[in-house]
Subunit: 246 residues, 2 copies
Amino acid sequence: MIAVYSVARPLLQRRFMQIRQLFDRDSSTYTYLLWDERTMDALVIDPVLEQVDRDLELVAELGLTLRYVLDTHVHADHVTASGVLRERTGAKVIASERGAACADQKVGAGDEIRVGHAVVKVLETPGHTDDSISFYVDGSVFTGDALLVRGNGRTDFQNGDAATLYDSLTRVLFALPDDTRVWPGHDYRGHTVSSIGEEKRRNRRIAGRSRAEFIEIMNGLGLPRPKLIDVAVPRNLVCGREPVAA
Amino acid sequence: MIAVYSVARPLLQRRFMQIRQLFDRDSSTYTYLLWDERTMDALVIDPVLEQVDRDLELVAELGLTLRYVLDTHVHADHVTASGVLRERTGAKVIASERGAACADQKVGAGDEIRVGHAVVKVLETPGHTDDSISFYVDGSVFTGDALLVRGNGRTDFQNGDAATLYDSLTRVLFALPDDTRVWPGHDYRGHTVSSIGEEKRRNRRIAGRSRAEFIEIMNGLGLPRPKLIDVAVPRNLVCGREPVAA
């Protein structure tokens, strides 16, 4: 189901939600630490296992209490730190209803995650994978691999589907206000952020293209199988821990 | 000369200055594209030669007019794109009074650079090099290699001086409001931004340390000579172009 949200925002607004973008060079993954500066409650989006010490150090230095760990989807290119963060902080792991079984809480379209006084809205944005979700808060959207800067995630594994992704991009994400900041799950060219208006007009894969054209492009990419997929997916289904042999 | 600025900012404020952070993976350099969204006039800080096509593409896609190219100092670890950007856009190159001779305009403490309706203030922050300057605009400071996230630039070449850097950090940059966003010239651990308050409290090299301790640390680092210094410095003195043989 595709849901469309209206998220009006006053012209003059003090933003209390702080956003800290973090980069993992090996997997080109962006992790986001968000906190409400009024209460110092925090959540992290798409943490990378190898960066868990860096991220916990930052949480401690900022005096934050980590409440939630969110994954935008079951990743195929890196192992999530969600399980380790849960163990080391007591934070709850949140994933899509179709995501990792190890999550403490499953969310879907329209669900809200409260962090301090801030409300993070869950948007269903499947297509890269069938469990892909995005998170909207305070004029920013965290799109995982659904929408990247001038691009989008591939659709050829983990029940990915180009038609579904087209609908997620055009009907869900592009329904957000043009000045919404887009924080991607990866970038490979040194871009860090974009906006919905910019991606509507300039995204290489989708701007000015029909659904049929987009599907043809995505189904014709012929990309190699991700190097880490056979390690990452099984581990991410158990929050990044070592899977137990059957 | 060390100058201290007071930059008061209203609690409720619509920011018209847009900031786009860009990363060069090879040199771990951050480049910044800033523009006034009311007029679409832009400037770029610390552009990297190898990224000039990416950066000009972004300028075009956003519909910006590039007015100025600023370097925070004569870099030793990458070649500036300032000369190429000047040739390809007509933008003016701005550097410190003690910086690259090729600049169209030399600036020092308290000078202002107007971009659209926005005013960028020049802060003198020498110590990493003797020509290091920082730029303040709209609640953000671009610190080059003077102040990094939890660190600072080395002080052992290009007339660097630890005592001078200590004064730049503590008397100039730390005089800015605590919530000023700090946008560094590099990061090697995946950090992207910090704040003055955070660095005052948490910077590894300077928080809680005396001037004498800081000098001792900096003078004892024993770092290897930068790999690119003999290429980068001569080229950066001529805005990144091939130096003419004497």
